[in-house]
Point group: D2
Chain length 144, copies 4
């Protein structure tokens, strides 16, 4: 099993500041592995909403998650602050691969990094649809 190496901050141009919560810590005293994915979702969707791309309750395009993954290098835990670095790993016709690294407090190397793949679908029919041009124009700026 080959292991990826932790990415550094200079491999990302876009960051989101995230908080940890008391309940994130499990009985080993650090953030449960599940919480990393809640932070991924929050970082990506918060960004997409601010860019005007994702519209809660109103848009006709939604992203369905078809694959996620995460590698864990070192511990994060409440009350740490987290910086989430975001980049686009792949920009397909109907899908996007988002890559996210979580940096603990001021650390330069990622404590964890992962990805998730969205397939964009029509909100009503749930059929895949071509990624709208406005999405492509924003996302391609962060394509690595």
């Amino acid at each position: 099993m080959s292991r990826p190496s932790p990415l550094s901050r200079d491999e990302f141009a876009l960051f989101r500041a995230l908080q940890t919560r008391w309940a994130d810590n499990d009985l080993y005293g650090h953030m449960n592995n599940v919480v990393h994915y809640a932070l991924f979702d929050t970082a990506i969707n918060g960004w997409l909403i601010e860019e005007g791309l994702l519209r809660l309750g109103g848009g006709d395009t939604i992203g369905l998650v078809v694959e996620t993954g995460c590698s864990y290098f070192s511990e994060i835990g409440f009350p740490d602050k987290v910086a989430a670095g975001i980049r686009i790993g792949h920009l397909g016709n109907t899908s996007v691969r988002y890559e996210i690294a979580l940096f603990r407090n001021d650390e330069e190397r990622a404590a964890a990094q992962g990805h998730f793949v969205h397939v964009y679908v029509d909100a009503a029919t749930r059929k895949p649809r071509q990624l709208p041009g406005e999405w492509r124009r924003v996302l391609e700026d962060y394509l690595r």
Copy 2:
């Protein structure tokens, strides 16, 4: 059933800035009622840690929650920001009643408010113990 009225910001002297998460929203499109309590915990414990009172994994006094409650007035939901106002409702020999109001974005009136009661116990024996003097000195400044 009598209902409390939403408190306003000027009834609090201490605030904590909190984030919402994507997964906080339930299928009605706003923050699930359970999440309010996760925010209460995070606001109070984050403050107690910064004050040097609560020490994760190391302190000999921990607070066990014996009662919680919340009244909900209006909706909060991701990606809203939340300001949590904190005050001390009661400062007993071995227990503290924390009162918390959650303000959505820049709103002046609480979207929800609640309380929780901690009984302070010896970390090892779980027997109630008198609230240490250093705790009392910090908390009494916020007694309403």
Copy 3:
């Protein structure tokens, strides 16, 4: 601060079997106080769905939570099993007070007990509406 006493199983006629999860345990090694409310929601809504009263995504009446509360008597934690006893504390014109007690494994006395108050509203307008007759007929059987 007066404290309620733990209820016993014979004060309930309706029970739901619930599971705990690994992530429910916090760093003190037992179920975080927030999780009790997630169990309340799951017990009540699971029951209402099975009775055909609550229809996800389709019904015209939804219950908005306006008040919740919980008293904690003893610890529950993964991998415990939980039995949730349910009864109706109050059946109003547009609101219902549900009372729930959580029993750990085979224990006779509640480890925690609480309530939540639903106001029933029109799914589209969010205006309170009279509790439908079919709801009333089911719920009044469990009125204490």
Copy 4:
């Protein structure tokens, strides 16, 4: 991006029955992608506890998660029941790859499937340690 195919129940010899919760559903009306990992953790750790291998708060060996991943094929949502199929994908000297598939209600094909990799460490020093013989004897029965 190649996509795995959903596994069927006959590719697993060990199953755990799991519940969904009300709060698992996000605003698209189905289980949020994060929750799948909470179910993975619960299935695996619940099994390891029942086998007497994992001892909460007492054992000298704990499993640290170093990698997780999940592919999503179809929707699951509260109040669905879930059967988690478990098998061992790899049994190393100090690490184990657990593979889990989540089957919705009575469906034969997985709605989602994933894995996580535990590295076993000394609870005190957090240094990797050889997987104890009692673990190996149980786990190798489920090696695919």
